[in-house]
Symmetry: C2
Subunit: 357 residues, 2 copies
Amino acid sequence: MNQVIELIKTDVKKEKPAANALGFGKHFTDYMFVMDYNQEDGWHHPRITPYAPLVLDPSVMVFHYGQAIFEGLKAYRTKDGRVLLFRPEKNVARLNLSCQRMSIPQIDEEIVLDAIKQLVEIEKDWIPNEEGTSLYIRPFIIATEPSLGVHPSREYKLMVILSPVGSYYSDQLKPVRIYVEDEYVRAVPGGVGFVKTSGNYAASLKAQEKAELLGYDQVLWLDGVERKYIEEVGSMNIFFKINGEVVTPKLNGSILGGITRDSVIELLKHWNIPVKEAKISIDEINQAFQKGELEEVFGTGTAAVISPVGELKWKDTTMNISKGNNGNTLANRIYEEITSIQLGKAEDPFNWTIEIK
Amino acid sequence: MNQVIELIKTDVKKEKPAANALGFGKHFTDYMFVMDYNQEDGWHHPRITPYAPLVLDPSVMVFHYGQAIFEGLKAYRTKDGRVLLFRPEKNVARLNLSCQRMSIPQIDEEIVLDAIKQLVEIEKDWIPNEEGTSLYIRPFIIATEPSLGVHPSREYKLMVILSPVGSYYSDQLKPVRIYVEDEYVRAVPGGVGFVKTSGNYAASLKAQEKAELLGYDQVLWLDGVERKYIEEVGSMNIFFKINGEVVTPKLNGSILGGITRDSVIELLKHWNIPVKEAKISIDEINQAFQKGELEEVFGTGTAAVISPVGELKWKDTTMNISKGNNGNTLANRIYEEITSIQLGKAEDPFNWTIEIK
Ligand SMILES: Cc1ncc(COP(=O)(O)O)c(C=O)c1O
Ligand SMILES: Cc1ncc(COP(=O)(O)O)c(C=O)c1O
């Protein structure tokens, strides 16, 4: 494509929120990236433009038929003031995978990656400095054809917005309590669970509400066919350490191929810690727990990086996993290593980070 | 609630499209209905206001997490100039069912029904006169909280827009050719297939594209667990007439409870034609076909009312059903009866229609 990204400047600058008031995805920076699609011109007019509301006809397809996909990644500020992205090319590739499943025209990954870099460069003053904070990057595509016929939209907008964020969970490495959901289903092979389309998240809200009502933080989804194999958590993949070996559900077409998940697997291999991807039933996990072999459970995702699981509730069984989070867990070691790479504090043997300058 | 609907007038009137240029959901009338939700005021400020674009922050939740639901119904103009709605209270009740599953606050059904009536009354000149045309009514709710956290939105907009439409399918009673999908899955029990949420339609696009590529008009979905039980068509429920008896898949939690489906069942009972709701496998249908007992197949839905199916393609099997659509089919008889009720040409023993005045 090789299109030049236009920059439309603004002098209006918002006040930056205090570090302790960041939250997640509540504040947005001064600029955003926008690119349009129509059938004549394909993806065209890439531009960085002042952050502003969208003006959309009430009939645009995203409101009615949910043709919408997104990504999530972060920019980090290092101690010495450099700006790093973590494996952004993976997010852009996954955006295209989502495009493909959701009948959205493919994007030029290079131009979107370039857009992310330029936008973050312009907005680098928005990257907070404090421990656990970062600049969250949200690329997304919405269907904008004004039409109520059910068919792939003939018009789209790709946008990138930026939000300075604190940690997603208020207490970063505090173990979370997870409810194993056996009534609601998130996704099924042949469906859209393996891509980041908006409807997957809407479909998960009811179960999340139920879990919170019962006093849990998050939901662990089981497969939708046999209702016994482990899939993933709300917006995290999940790992189990059993008898010294680490196992995570294999990518089966209904769970998201998380980039943190992939990084954790690579890191464990690098450390020569046994790790495998497999079909795991909740029964097996419970058996391991009953035998005293379930050593650790943790979730992985961009928002929290690593999130230790302290308790799994499955029907009448309560599995208490964290016997005191003494800081010597594998979860903590992985968290330390990945965040150190992200923050430029440790070497990056995998070439995961990209510096923006 | 008992809220008064405010009317915000406009003198700007669009030109009405010619009957042969209507299409489906391409043209919209001069007014729309809007009502807002926030946590302090609940659903508030119901108003009929000039049709106009929405101004929405790029972070509003509908773009990212697909919390959006909709309905579809029609207003018809009778020969003697009256305006009729067909079972609108059913659509409003189903909207609330969708709210419930998608964690959207319940609406006051009376006020929404009232809004639909008032809006159609104001826009009655937009109802086209020609055979097969009507005014399509699209109520919908979108999540409008500007936030990237995954949780039920704390702000919503409920809107109703109106579109004068021709028949959804260009040739009304021309039998459609249907591809039985055995790779992609639309919905599964425990999921959201039984409500009208936007993501269900986005998830169906890929299979629809595939069917069209293979030369078929629509997809027939099989269940997502065993991949053998019949569910429904893209936006229609499905009926089979086998050996004089009519059967349609029973509502199992993954298919939509169509209002046309319900009306057809009531009508058949009224006519003393045997009809049942049951779990039906595609195998059974094929066996009936091979034995020469599959007499008719038809879809039911608001858009086309009744749509005869001429061919079912399942793996290597082609079932040719319509042995010449000679006008003596049950599908045609049902179509005639329901459209006659809708257009005020026949008596309405079921009290299905509501006159607007
Ligand atoms: C459903 C789901 N699973 C897993 C993940 C973790 O993926 P990643 O590590 O790429 O952030 C996410 C978040 O992106 C998600 O939304
Ligand atoms: C998935 C689906 N199934 C069935 C139907 C038919 O329902 P109704 O008869 O209420 O229009 C529709 C259309 O509303 C639909 O979207």
